[in-house]
């Protein structure tokens, strides 16, 4: 009797639980469809009557940085209220993306979302989170390639507008350069880079200065590929690019630097989880290949005050005679969530933000009409120690940069990079030779490409 009652209660509890699951499934399944059919109507009827519209904007930047810009937009666009959602409390974009995913998963009604880099962008576009913008763009009547240096199309569809522009160049410790009697390079190749690294290496033991430092990111295993105009990714148009001269040269470059002791040993890098900022700004490494988010930091930051002058050099070429300064263009992207009920208003905002809004923030943007001199002046005025930025070489690098048209990576770029770095790690740690590495990486990446067809 007692057992029966207990069992009955359990069955009821389980049934309720299952019913609960089923219910939530149903409501959740139904709401997006009803939302997407109802929302555009609401948006269209709202626009003419100029009813107040609230747009939720999510970014990982601190609120203090974003709010003045949002305020400026609200002032010039009455009826629009922008609500800022801060995704990370320390400006960490990786943590910001995790928070964004959780917010979206929990049904938060965000409208505009920022993404740090093409990999994050294409991953979320591939998941169907972002609304295609092609109709809105053709309605406005612009050609994207005339407006922006970066083409954000994924399979012919545009899911986000380019926000900041990121290309790569070399930061040099000018004090050490002067001490070694070297000039700031303007045209150079990877061989010259190794040469510089050797000349900049000095000392022994824990206080040794290394010529260069390579971070753990996948881009540092494909340095002789990302400085190409074309076919500059691991997989281009579905063709795996590992078994190529470019990747071979990249890996040999790393191996030479490691063997001759001019680069921070890879074992130190991974076992101590070294960070490129501390390696460069503490003078532990004299040169790093990096991107233009570091321009402002060259003038010092709270954590790493500038103690020496930083000079800039273009991205090296693969062999003497080829032009230096070519680099893939990446950057932040700003898109609109598929579920957003205010597509038009959100689009107007991201168009404004990715052009004029950025000028206010003085970031290096993908907008073609940006004034470079004004940007440099802005960087210097905002820097903690402006005299530590070598202006002449910075101007040269920016004006002579040749951002290669970005082919947005496949939606599974993250998986490709993980698989690739796994093999290259074994190579640099002397567990396998170059040809084995190339062969295995080529096969593994091919497997990922096939699995995602």
């Amino acid at each position: 009797m007692k057992k029966n009652v207990f069992a009955l209660v359990w069955i009821i509890v389980l049934l309720v639980a299952l019913a609960g699951c089923g219910n939530s499934n149903n409501t959740n399944g139904a709401s997006p469809t009803s939302g997407s059919t109802a929302a555009p109507e609401a948006g269209e009827s709202a626009a003419p009557s100029a009813e107040p519209v609230t747009i939720k904007v999510a970014n990982w930047s601190p609120a203090a940085d974003m709010e003045p810009i949002l305020q400026a937009y609200e002032d010039s666009h009455p009826g629009i209220t922008l609500e800022y959602v801060e995704l990370a409390d320390n400006g960490d974009s990786v943590a910001g993306m995790k928070k964004l995913d959780l917010l979206v998963a929990s049904g938060e009604n965000l409208d505009v979302v920022f993404m740090p880099g093409a990999t994050d962008y294409s991953q979320r576009a591939g998941l169907g989170l972002l609304a295609p913008l092609n109709d809105l763009i053709s309605k406005e009547g612009i050609t994207l390639t005339d407006e922006y240096t970066v083409d954000p199309s994924v399979d012919g569809k545009v899911y986000a507008l380019p926000d900041t522009l990121e290309n790569y160049f070399v930061l040099l410790n000018k004090d050490k350069l002067d001490a070694a009697g070297l000039a700031v390079p303007t045209e150079w190749s990877w061989d010259d880079y190794l040469d510089y690294a050797a000349k900049l290496t000095s000392g022994t033991g824990p206080s040794k200065t290394f010529g260069t430092y390579f971070h753990t990111w996948a881009m540092y295993w494909e340095l002789a590929v990302i400085n190409q105009e074309k076919d500059n990714n691991l997989v281009n148009n579905g063709v795996v690019n590992i078994d190529s001269a470019g990747i071979r040269q990249s890996l040999e470059l790393r191996s030479k630097a490691e063997a001759s002791g001019v680069a921070v040993p890879y074992a130190d890098t991974i076992s101590q989880k070294l960070a490129y900022r501390s390696e460069f700004f503490t003078g532990h490494a004299a040169m790093i290949v990096t991107g233009n988010w570091m321009i402002g930091e060259a003038g010092g930051s709270e954590e790493f005050p500038a103690t020496f002058t930083t000079a800039f050099a273009p991205m090296p070429s693969n062999s003497a005679g080829q032009p230096a300064g070519v680099s893939i263009a990446n950057g932040n992207y700003v898109g609109i969530l598929e579920k957003s009920g205010h597509q038009q208003e959100a689009y107007d905002f991201i168009r404004w933000y990715s052009t004029e809004g950025e000028q206010m923030q003085n970031v290096y943007s993908a907008w073609k009409k940006q004034d470079v001199d004004k940007f440099i002046a802005g960087v210097k005025s905002g820097a903690m120690s402006p005299d530590k930025i070598d202006e002449a070489s910075l101007a040269y690098v920016i004006k002579n940069a040749k951002p290669a048209p970005l082919s947005v990576p496949p939606t599974y770029q993250g998986e490709l990079e993980t698989a690739f770095t796994k093999e290259t790690e074994l190579y640099i740690l002397k567990q396998q030779d170059l040809e084995t590495t190339i062969k295995k990486a080529q096969a593994e990446l091919q497997k990922i490409v096939d699995a995602n067809k």
Partner: protein, 311 residues
């Protein structure tokens, strides 16, 4: 209570009153266990069932429920061709070695501390220290100790004449043993405390009798201490193996599964798949495999215990 008096009667001819009382009593029971039951239901049981269902789907948790695609056994088929997963699973099994080794050390230390040292309390505290420190802090300290070029460990090794000391955490062959070493060191405190409690529970007259019979210390350990500690050993083995299978924090902060996946474990791979690659369905299927393995191992241990555990 009064019910105990009326119960025999009501058993033969249930009256309306006693039935009602019974119902109230049962109701009260459910009322009091309700909150706990609800908690278990909402935070454990439903997620488990949900995760089980998800393991047969292709889904990313950032997309809505309407994007769930049923994929049958595809995930599992894919899992057994997934080199990273198989490597992680293999690493998990190698890592299991850390459990018996750690327990053996704890047992020996336990015997020594209870009877052969002054100030045993101080030793307990010393060995328990790593357990109460944050894993992150502990990992950072060991990172520096294991520094491949200037770390104290390699400094010592080269001082005594080892030419090419291993690169420890940065060496694909030594990374996993290094992690296991740390695991043993961190978990030593718990096993030690429990063993000491077990040793104190052994009646002293057994040892007295053995001493009178002229048994050596070793014989006493083999015939008294070890057999009487088998329930403790069994408990530590089961919880240790389950805990070992679920190890994540140490791997995450120490090596991130590297170099080249040599320290990746199933839970780490799952984290990477679910929260970095955003493949919730696929990650759920990994959890299911883990669940089945842990269940099987624990079941085997329960079955095997009657051959070696003395209660």
């Amino acid at each position: 209570m009064k019910t105990s008096v009326t119960l025999p009667q009501s058993h033969q001819t249930p009256t309306a009153g006693s039935k009602k009382r019974k119902r109230i009593e049962a109701g009260m029971g459910y009322f009091f266990t309700g909150p706990m039951l609800l908690g278990v239901l909402v935070f454990t049981l439903i997620p488990m069932i949900f995760s089980f269902m998800l393991s047969f789907t292709k889904w990313s948790f950032v997309t809505g429920f309407d994007k769930i695609r049923w994929s049958g056994l595809d995930n599992f088929r894919q899992l057994f061709q997934d080199e990273v997963f198989l490597k992680s699973l293999g690493n998990n099994f190698i890592m299991l070695l850390a459990v018996p080794v750690g327990m053996a050390i704890a047992l020996i230390l336990g015997v020594i501390i209870t009877s052969h040292v002054y100030a045993p309390g101080a030793f307990k505290v010393i060995y328990f220290m790593p357990q109460i420190s944050s894993v992150v802090a502990v990992a950072v300290v060991w990172q520096v100790l294991f520094h491949p070029s200037y770390g104290p460990v390699n400094g010592f090794l080269s001082a005594i004449g080892v030419d090419n000391p291993p690169k420890w955490l940065a060496d694909p062959t030594y990374a996993l043993p290094s992690v296991m070493l740390l695991m043993i060191w961190i978990d030593l405190g718990v096993s030690l405390i429990i063993y000491i409690a077990g040793i104190k529970n052994i009646p002293a007259d057994l040892y007295e009798a053995a001493t009178i019979d002229g048994a050596s210390k070793l014989a006493q350990f083999r015939s008294i201490t070890f057999p009487l500690l088998t329930p403790t050993t069994f408990f530590l083995l089961v919880t240790g193996i389950i805990g070992n299978f679920k190890s994540f924090a140490l791997v995450k902060v120490l090596t991130d599964g590297g170099p080249a996946n040599s320290t990746s474990v199933v839970v780490y791979d799952m984290y990477q798949t679910a929260f970095v690659d955003l493949q919730t369905g696929y990650a759920s299927s990994m959890v299911m495999i883990l669940f089945v393995i842990v269940l099987a191992i624990t079941g085997l241990q329960w079955l095997g215990q009657r051959y070696w555990v003395n209660y």
